[in-house]
């Protein structure tokens, strides 16, 4: 049972961070200071990335079986291109999507990646989807989630270009910080003799965490519709 403790920690972290909406102080500051605020938006982008479990869990799933630095760079770039596109395009167009629904799909993306890591997709389908295309596709969806978060700041049309670009830059900074910690932990974990055994457990916990996120968001979405 001892090797499940970190699984419990992972789930706890997920449930603690699942509801990661924009804090009151951050929102108030932005609302009271219209115009371009590059520094604060870079900070808020990085903060959103680092304090939320969903994007980092997905990223963890993506790099789980990537051993070469070139592959890590390729997949992370695909993910980043995807979410930058929808974040910037979505904010610029003033896109309004039900945030909880997007977050539910983001939770499901974590589960999907874990299923792929476990080799279940080959078992289910004779031709599983291309993992690179899926990373790009899920990047697009994660970007929609980021765009709805940015919409919470109700940006003035005039600041719909510089501020989202700064926020997006911050998201990349936060992503790289998270990635750095993950790679640090992964390299030492991979050296451990029990890694193969742990890996299966980790990829079983990941979809649980992802589904937990998705279910939480779906129930929030229902609650919003009922009230």
């Amino acid at each position: 049972m001892r090797r499940w403790w970190w699984g419990g920690v992972c789930l706890l972290w997920t449930s603690l961070l699942a509801a990661h909406e924009v804090p009151v102080g951050d929102r108030g500051f932005i609302l009271e200071h219209p115009g371009a605020l590059l520094g604060p938006f870079v900070y808020l982008g990085a903060k959103h990335m680092v304090t939320g479990a969903d994007h980092l869990l997905y990223l963890l799933g993506v790099i789980f079986w990537l051993y070469r630095a070139r592959d890590v760079a390729l997949y992370v770039t695909l993910f980043a291109v995807g979410h930058s596109l929808t974040l910037l395009a979505g904010t610029h167009a003033g896109l309004a999507i039900e945030a909880h629904l997007v977050d539910a799909v983001i939770g499901a993306s974590v589960a999907y990646k874990a299923a792929e890591n476990l080799g279940w997709l080959e078992r289910w389908w004779s031709h599983p989807p291309n993992p690179r295309l899926m990373t790009l596709g899920f990047g697009l969806i994660h970007g929609l989630g980021l765009a709805t978060r940015l919409a919470d700041f109700s940006l003035e049309p005039a600041s719909r270009l510089p501020n989202p670009i700064a926020f997006n830059a911050g998201v990349e900074v936060g992503q790289l910080l998270g990635l750095g910690v993950m790679l640090l932990v992964m390299t030492s974990w991979r050296r451990a003799p029990a890694f193969a055994r742990h890996a299966r457990g980790a990829n079983l916990v990941l979809p649980l965490a992802g589904l937990l996120l998705a279910a939480g968001q779906l129930s929030d979405s229902l609650r919003v519709e009922l009230t």
């Binding site: 102080g25 590059l38 604060p40 900070y43 903060k47 640090l184």
Partner: protein, 74 residues
């Protein structure tokens, strides 16, 4: 780079970010001046004002309750 050195560098980076970015932006505490340069200290000061206003409001509400002879557990 050895594993130990990597962990050391990561901790150093985290501490630097805490002092130059997180403390200014969250608490309005800016010992290095970098936070003000990046425009983060104003956000932290704003949050501190909000927190103080909320504390004042709670205190005033508690005082009003005690004046009315109510003992509402808070």
């Amino acid at each position: 780079m050895s594993q130990r050195r990597q962990v050391f560098m990561a901790t150093l980076l985290a501490a630097a970010l805490l002092v130059t970015c997180v403390l200014p932006a969250e608490r309005g505490v800016d010992p290095t001046g970098v936070g003000r340069l990046l425009g983060l200290t104003a956000m932290g000061e704003f949050k501190r004002v909000i927190a103080e206003e909320q504390a004042d409001a709670r205190r005033a509400a508690a005082e009003a309750d005690s004046l009315a002879g109510l003992t509402v557990p808070r």
